[in-house]
Symmetry: C2
Subunit: 197 residues, 2 copies
């Protein structure tokens, strides 16, 4: 006997595709949606869709942005220092500290032979193109994880052949942690104590 309406199951399946959300939570969310006013649900669906449809990549730093180039790249920043991060969230985290006036480069991923992520799958080519301009230093600010280290080391080897200084965030960060959850002081210290690699 079928007792759950098919559209409800479909909505639950969609929620279950989200990272960190299992089938049980997904069902709860789908049921929750049905209990909301139809306007709230439309607002939710449109909000999610609009974000995906209206947000583009910055042609320079590859960060998510509404305007190209992004506010950071087109702002009054020191474009001779580029901070290389894994994801757009990491840019937000650095910007929150307010202690960095250079620009960024978002890789949108990390090298991972296990997951089959190769150099051409992340935005390394775009980074190398930017280095043709006037750049004094590249700060490798990937997470202090195995993939983060491997990616930093791979990219720094490429950059060194160009004679540009490369540095790495200081190990003020606890190994295995995620940038996203670092507190501002730790992050600022890590930035200040960066070491040439």
């Amino acid at each position: 006997m079928e007792y759950t309406p098919a559209p409800l199951l479909k909505a639950a399946e969609q929620f279950a595709k989200l990272p960190g959300i299992g089938m049980k939570t997904a069902q709860r969310l789908a049921y929750h949606m049905l209990s909301l006013p139809i306007e709230s649900v439309r607002e939710f669906a449109d909000g999610v869709r609009d974000a995906r449809e209206s947000v583009k990549f910055c042609s320079l730093c590859q960060n998510f942005t509404e305007t190209v180039p992004c506010p950071v790249c087109s702002g009054n920043r020191n474009t001779k220092i580029i901070c290389v991060v894994e994801s757009p969230r990491d840019v937000s985290v650095f910007e929150r500290t307010g202690g960095y006036d250079g620009v960024y480069h978002v890789l949108h991923g990390l090298l991972s032979p296990m997951d089959g992520t190769l150099p051409e799958d992340i935005r390394i080519r775009e980074l190398m193109e930017r280095l043709a301009g006037e750049v004094d230093e590249v700060i490798m600010a990937t997470n202090p994880t195995i993939e983060g280290e491997a990616t930093a080391s791979y990219i720094s080897r490429l950059i060194k052949t160009l004679g540009i200084k490369v540095s790495r965030l200081a190990y003020g960060l606890p190994a295995g942690a995620s940038l996203e959850f670092a507190d501002d002081v730790t992050l600022t210290k890590a930035l200040e104590n960066r070491n040439e690699i």
Copy 2:
């Protein structure tokens, strides 16, 4: 300096409205959406919206359904026994057991003076209307919580005036549980309601 595109923030705010999802998780989900193919995001948004738009309430049991009356109410069931539950999810749980052939009534909430949920806010009136027909027994199957008990007791008082039998789900030890971890109330109830074997 604004570094997060407004549509992204809006999507995160929408996710944060979901139960059990905080701002941090909401942001991660919003960023995740941007990393998906645009088709997947449309599918997600449409799936959620469709569920809300196409699912109705059954005119009899008030459960979510695509067709009115719902498959349970229009199926070959014993309509003289009505099982009263808090939410549509509870119907799914009972149906999964396969051991019940009566029909249901979904209250869509529980009485809660704390939250300001009054009898007219949940579907008690609809239940009383159904009782005008031929009904032998009403099973109160709300959760064994304070609100669940209060609601069951309120409704059973109303129904008894009609001379219809009202029963309550048995309290006792859950199958597979250990006596050691049972709470006092459960254990006392299990002792009181002991059955001859």
